[in-house]
């Protein structure tokens, strides 16, 4: 790491109360968007010809997966930015997005499993799409475990950035796995291949999940900033104590 590395505590922008108020409002907007999108999807879409009402699980399964991919893209970009600039802020953004991405990936797998039981007859199978998604989850759970491994900020941030960048490389593999290998998971649908009602249900839920993901990352980033400031405050106090100031 160069001397230019900036590990100073991340300053909180604006008045904390005003920021908290804005995020609370954002949370209410996200909540309403999710409820509206799910009600629309559940009530408007007719039973699918092959899947029947099980098709409605797609409105939470697919947006959850897409939002996780976007979260991992944030990890990728923020990790490169950290290695490039050494700013603590980038590391904290990456860590926040990684946690939210891992959560959404776990939810995606669980929802897929609930859909798979009545459709394929099994809760789980070692299909390329399922397996590559499980690997993605394991990599980012490892990323989070790695962060708890060391107290040294620079080392933790550098290692995490490398894992975050390498971990993201699995996202295109997950996405294209249904085309590259023989799989029982269906290939990606396009607006031209599904009925408009289903497509709109998916679109509105995708937007709602994207808003949710952004809200979670921002909230998690606030927690991470405070914890980082706390670490720095304690370190500074110990340093002053050791020098008898």
């Amino acid at each position: 790491m160069t001397e230019a590395t900036d590990t100073r505590p991340v300053a909180t922008r604006g008045a904390p109360q005003a920021q908290s108020g804005r995020l609370a409002l954002w949370g209410v907007v996200v909540l309403l968007a999710l409820i509206a999108a799910q009600v629309y999807g559940l009530l408007e879409s007719p039973p699918d010809r092959d899947m029947g009402h099980l098709q409605k699980i797609m409105y939470v399964h697919v947006p959850s997966a897409w939002s996780a991919f976007v979260a991992f893209l944030v990890v990728f970009v923020a990790s490169i930015a950290y290695l490039w600039t050494g700013r603590a802020r980038h590391d904290l953004i990456a860590a926040s997005a990684a946690e939210v991405g891992a959560l959404l990936t776990a939810l995606t797998l669980a929802l897929g499993s609930i859909w798979g039981r009545p459709t394929w007859g099994v809760w789980w199978t070692w299909d390329p799409r399922l397996t590559s998604t499980a690997v993605l989850l394991v990599v980012f759970v490892g990323y989070l475990a790695l962060r708890a491994f060391t107290d040294d900020f620079e080392r933790r941030a550098r290692w995490s950035a490398v894992v975050g960048i390498l971990g993201f490389l699995n996202v295109p593999v997950v996405y294209l796995s249904v085309r590259w290998w023989r799989t029982i998971h269906q290939v990606q649908s396009a607006p031209s291949t599904v009925d408009t009602t289903f497509a709109w249900g998916l679109r509105v839920n995708a937007v709602a999940f994207l808003l949710l993901m952004i809200y979670f990352v921002r909230e998690r980033y606030r927690v991470a900033s405070m914890e980082h400031l706390l670490e720095a405050t304690i370190e500074e106090r110990e340093l002053r104590g050791s020098h008898g100031v």
Binding site: I114, L230, T233
Partner: protein
């Protein structure tokens, strides 16, 4: 065998448990971090000696 709707309801219930659970967890962590930070920081600036 369970009906289609039981799987649908189960999937949506799980989604909301995860969403609300994580939101509450973040709220708790935020409050705890703010409290710890307030305790760690000096309550008033040090007085200057005359």
């Amino acid at each position: 065998m369970a009906s289609e709707w039981s799987y649908v309801v189960g999937a949506y219930a799980l989604t909301w448990v995860v969403i609300l659970g994580y939101a509450l967890r973040l709220r708790y962590r935020l409050r705890r971090a703010a409290e710890e930070l307030a305790m760690a920081q000096p309550s008033s600036p040090p007085k200057r000696e005359a």
